[in-house]
Subunit: 459 residues, 2 copies
């Protein structure tokens, strides 16, 4: 097999690993190679045209906004202790993923912190929002409000609360402490920010929320949190380069094929399971990327979209693996492996007289983690549950940037294979409109009446 | 309809709410009422026999261990700042759920804290474990090691690390700072704790990990974290009482029926989606309860088990709802609604000149949260995606205890309907054994050779 062995291990999706349930590999790749390359070329050609309204995320690794982000971060660093990010979905999950992976795992509890604590308000839970503001010092807190349009209900509610809180506690100077990340031209947040005198950063119009992690949306929180954002972009550029290879040397195309074929074969569940506590939000980020991109009405009728399930190894071995082994073969499981931990932490020989624990004595934690991954992958394969493993050499900004772009490109390819638009989200519109109606927003009386007629309590 | 309207709203699983995809209700209930009651009776009779090896969790709300837990908590409170809980799966998710729901949402960042900070080590991520110990003061840290058998690899690794850390920093007195929660008789942790002089608490032999939240497993971390554990148990007793009602007045039986029928009709995905940031780990706890209990080989062949998906509203509206609306109708969605927040937080009118935001001015956050839930439930129903809503009046210990016991009883009933044992987990055994083999544990040479023969790298 000619896929990059280092990065991807596909054995357990093939009949070699998983028996008759598996793919006939490499024949399946052979059969679909030209289709995969055509999908890739379609994406790259639309992108190269400069006219595509969605594919701006392919350019983000080039770092057009990097200087602006770094200048702003440098200007604020040292003067503030906390950053509160107001955003939901694509406006929060990217930053959360990057910071959870790359900051000290207990950064926010350290006495001497190398960077700002970053908190995300990604819900309209008033108990939690007011609880957060209680523990922050308003004079030492920055607020980054992120919304492309400025009309995202949840983000605007949080913005109103944080603005009022800053005004109350720091007075006139509040505007210096708010940074708006929004569309360069359109929407209501841009003029509002100009009127108020907030610093601003752009979300390119041709970049959707779930593809925005490497725009200012993800980069500013990352930079203020001490992440090497240049390395993040460098890794993503590597994925862009690797994407140009032929199907036989292209792990992005090959995993896209596997994900797609698994869905076509009726496996409607895609489990994403990094073996790393620090990568736990990568699962959340991926779940949005996958679900919102590929869960669509099919042109011509029908529905597409396998359902992502977030998991973390080894933790979820004690929660989900019973089902994955003995339940129906309705899944494809994607493991993420970290070859080497940051620290050489070993399990001490603290019970030398306890024979049941001796096998652990002096073992590196990293070895145990990866033994559990390999054991679980093998045990699932034995039960007919397809799985493959993506590997990182270690968790650093460059490797993570590579993986993020890898997964975005993979998702775009699956969208092509499905023949859908992977970049819009028409299905969320009705929920928004009905929320407006229930909140009594002017102009939504008709929907209000419809809800009432359907027996929904509207007051 | 005669189910308890206050607690459960089933409209969107019926043809009334979701159209032809829905259940013919109340006829479906009528049809299955005696089967449901028989399932309930089978559980209660096995329990009453006193011989059942699994049903001890039904007695936990009676609080046999309460005095012991409270005495221990009182003895330690004030003297310590931090509790580190070593446990995985059922040994951590219950405590995590309760504390996340009931402590101040940013308790661990408060300057003056009403109770201990509680940290959970639920993985073998050496970077994270050593990172945690770096930010703690060993002289002010308690360790609670939780394992029924004392052979759980992940928990024992963490125990060895924490013991060595305490020994190194506090010397001889380390034993006073370790509490072992384990089987009263069997396993290796009990004799080890006695030898070392640790305080101990029991996990009743007839209580499995995922049903142990109301045993000392969940209660000690909760009590040290300041939770009213008596109220937790009181709520759970209410669920036990309500479980005895006939099918027409029994929300546990009715929701069990819906969950089961949805699975039988081919909806193999069960989304659990509380609209509350503080209930986010309830989804994790439920996902284990559901997956590990019901993902089984069927006696006589085949497989059971729908796959739980963890979600949080409103957050995941911006991540998953596109898929839920436009993707395949392969789901049942369970919403959890909180009628009243703790605080009367309102959205301030901080942009009076911005017409696009005026509909939010002075609105209670709780109203917005529940408007979004109702809007999403309705939008999903319109798309043929079945859903129902469980309500809590508020998030307090009593209501949460009720909901936890409700969900455990519901799961047990579904196990009866499926004709499986909901209380074992034979499917996790192979992964454990293969991990031992890969770690070079004596006695597992044969599995080691099998792995090698299968092409797995074993060194």
């Amino acid at each position: 097999m000619t896929y990059t062995r280092r990065m991807v291990n596909l054995k357990n999706v093939t009949s070699d690993g998983v028996g008759t349930a598996g793919l006939d590999w490499p024949n399946a790749l052979e059969q679909h190679a030209s289709r995969l390359e055509a999908a890739r070329d379609a994406i790259l050609q639309r992108h190269a045209s400069g006219q595509d309204p969605y594919l701006g995320w392919i350019d983000l690794p080039d770092g057009e906004v990097l200087g602006e982000v770094q200048a702003l971060a440098a200007q604020y660093a040292g003067e503030f202790d906390d950053l509160v990010v107001l955003g939901i979905g694509g406006s929060s999950l990217g930053g959360l993923t990057v910071l959870t992976a790359l900051q000290h795992p207990y950064h926010n509890l350290m006495r001497e912190r190398p960077a700002l604590r970053v908190h995300f308000i990604d819900n309209v839970d008033g108990d939690v929002i007011t609880g957060l503001l209680e523990v922050l010092d308003p004079a030492r807190t920055l607020v980054n409000v992120i919304s492309k349009s400025g009309t995202t209900t949840e983000t605007m509610a949080a913005y109103l609360t944080c603005k009022a809180w800053l005004q109350q506690h720091v007075g006139e100077g509040y505007a210096r402490q708010i940074i708006a990340t929004t569309d360069p031209q359109k929407g209501i947040l841009r003029p509002l920010a100009q009127r108020e005198g907030y610093a601003t950063l752009p979300v390119p119009p041709n970049v959707g929320g779930r593809f925005s992690v490497l725009s200012a949306v993800g980069l500013l929180p990352a930079a203020l949190g001490g992440v090497d954002v240049e390395a993040l972009l460098r890794g993503a550029r590597r994925a862009n380069e690797a994407f140009r290879a032929g199907a036989h040397d292209n792990a992005i195309l090959q995993t896209a094929l596997v994900n797609w074929l698994a869905g076509e074969a009726g496996r409607n569940i895609l489990v994403f399971m990094p073996y790393s506590t620090r990568l736990r939000y990568l699962s959340d980020w991926f779940a949005q990327l996958w679900a919102e991109s590929l869960g669509k009405h099919k042109p011509g009728g029908g529905h597409t979209g396998t359902t992502p399930v977030k998991a973390v190894g080894t933790t979820d071995q004690h929660s989900q693996v019973q089902l994955y082994r003995e339940g129906p073969s309705d899944k494809l499981v994607v493991f993420v492996r970290v070859d080497a931990p940051d620290r050489d932490a070993r399990i001490p020989n603290a019970e030398p007289n306890e024979p049941e624990m001796n096998y652990l004595a002096d073992a590196p934690y990293g070895r145990l983690m990866n033994a559990e991954l390999v054991a679980t992958a093998h045990a699932l394969a034995q039960a007919g549950q397809m799985n493959y493993t993506l590997s990182l050499e270690r968790i650093d900004a460059e490797q993570l940037g590579h993986l993020l772009q890898f997964l975005m490109l993979q998702t775009a390819v699956v969208g092509e294979l499905l023949g859908i638009n992977a970049f819009d989200q028409p299905g969320v519109e009705l929920g928004k409109v009905l929320t407006y109606a229930l909140m009594g927003r002017p102009g939504f009386d008709q929907q209000r009446e419809e809800l009432r007629a359907a027996g929904v309590q509207v007051d």
